[in-house]
Symmetry: C2
Subunit: 279 residues, 2 copies
């Protein structure tokens, strides 16, 4: 069979439905009809061979899941419910029709599990596999979890132990935890570039400082340094009033300080997490 764009698109097949999605794959645009009182959140994440992953570490289905899971983690961090996604995919010469089918099988399985319709995207070629997944999520009006609401005195939490080298592990987007934090967390984000970098961002956005406790939850076989600075954890980092019951591990306290200043064991903690342009 000749590999054409239209043939590849046909191969994607039916995907999970989403309430409000009037028109999916196949036109110039997807069409979505929002419900009353619905606020929408949007995120997009690049996923590029030899930048975000190595081909030898993953089969096609695993890469499809992973490409979607990264964006779902951002939706989880807003406390939102995923509704639909657009998938831009540029295939390298080594990716044939079989690989394409596997990629979409993995992506669609996670999409179905999380209620995310595949509503469209773009298809192209490139020297290395390049993917960009945009997700639209839904949340009640005014209720989305943002980064800028942390207050001095709030406790700081992570949804799970850190330092996990998810480059190889499965990414589990913390959608249920995020949804459960609506109306309770004062600020929330996902840890994709490392705790030291991302906590600084949250504190800076909120105009506060942060003090980390000594006892960080660290994954088995990971070092403290990895827990502090490694990216790709995809756990939620959030703040809440100290006496409120929330899931997760308490790791510190928000303080009135220079915005973005993070302290650990009495010393300033420099942001040494992942940065695409400064390594």
């Amino acid at each position: 069979m000749k590999l054409t764009e239209d043939a590849l698109i046909a191969r994607i097949g039916p995907t999970a439905r989403s309430r409000g999605l009037v028109l999916g794959i196949g036109d110039d645009c997807a069409i979505f009809r929002p419900g009353a009182g619905e606020e929408l959140v949007f995120t997009t994440d690049l996923f590029i061979e030899d930048v975000h992953f190595r081909r030898r570490d993953h089969d096609a289905a695993s890469l499809g899941r992973r490409a979607l899971a990264r964006s779902l983690s951002d939706v989880a961090a807003m406390g939102a419910v995923p509704r639909f996604c657009l998938v831009s995919l540029a295939l390298p010469p080594w990716a044939d029709g079989k690989w394409f089918g596997g990629f979409y099988r993995g992506l669609k399985a996670l999409a179905a599990k999380t209620g995310t319709a595949v509503a469209g995207g773009d298809l192209s070629h490139a020297p290395q596999l390049t993917c960009d997944v945009m997700i639209c999520g839904s949340v009640a009006r005014g209720k989305a979890l943002r980064r800028d609401g942390a207050k001095p005195g709030d406790a700081i939490y992570v949804s799970g132990p850190l330092g996990g080298w998810t480059h190889r592990r499965e990414i589990v987007p913390r959608l249920d935890i995020g949804r459960g934090l609506i109306g309770r967390a004062t600020a929330c984000m996902d840890i994709s570039d490392g705790l030291s970098t991302d906590l600084r961002r949250l504190a800076k956005a909120s105009g506060v400082g942060a003090v980390l406790d000594r006892g960080l939850p660290v994954l088995e076989n990971a070092t403290l340094d990895q827990a502090l600075h490694d990216g790709e954890d995809y756990e939620l980092l959030f703040t809440a009033p100290p006496r409120l019951r929330v899931p997760g591990h308490r790791i510190g306290t928000i303080v009135a300080d220079r915005p973005g200043r993070v302290t650990f064991m009495g010393l300033p903690l420099k942001p040494r997490g992942y940065d695409h342009f400064h390594r």
Copy 2:
């Protein structure tokens, strides 16, 4: 100055506002509050060095405009008004902070002109410049122009002459023309892969055939073959009842035939437009 992700994001600066955009660049997701009776359209387009463009043909600002214009053309094809965009950008080693500034200057100028807010995106690195622009547009409920409504007897139109090698020319998204076709055109799409390929798609989606007239509008210095098959025209291709006054050049008639069959000068016209996987 050290080039960091946060420094680059800060350099993007303020962008055009958009009604309903509650939160833009800087959190895990952008937040958008749709208005009552509003239906949203979504599209995304990859724009990759040596696949969609060559660096020597464009300066940074021209590439920024172009990356956005490609997606705006899809929004125009739905008859929608652009509201906001997400820009995913992977920078190669040759693209420095100055280049980045120029790219966003070009993109933001077109965004401002068309009322498109830059609401977020992703930033990464890659061996060659890679960009993916998602746009959300707005249209009155149930009014979006789709590909699947063409009826036998409808006249076929294009919004301008074809064969124009816009690889080098400016792309002008036909937003005003698209908006003016709401309630008048029976089907509409933009020509990005060439008339022969895209008219076949429109006819197939509508379950009809199409007969092209002899006298196609062809741009100066372009051949008939280029007008029929070259991609990147970014003109609108649409159908309307034959006696309705619409802008553009009439190029043929929709007929009851095998879905997707296009005839030109009495012979079937093969889809020889651009295909990423079959050249």
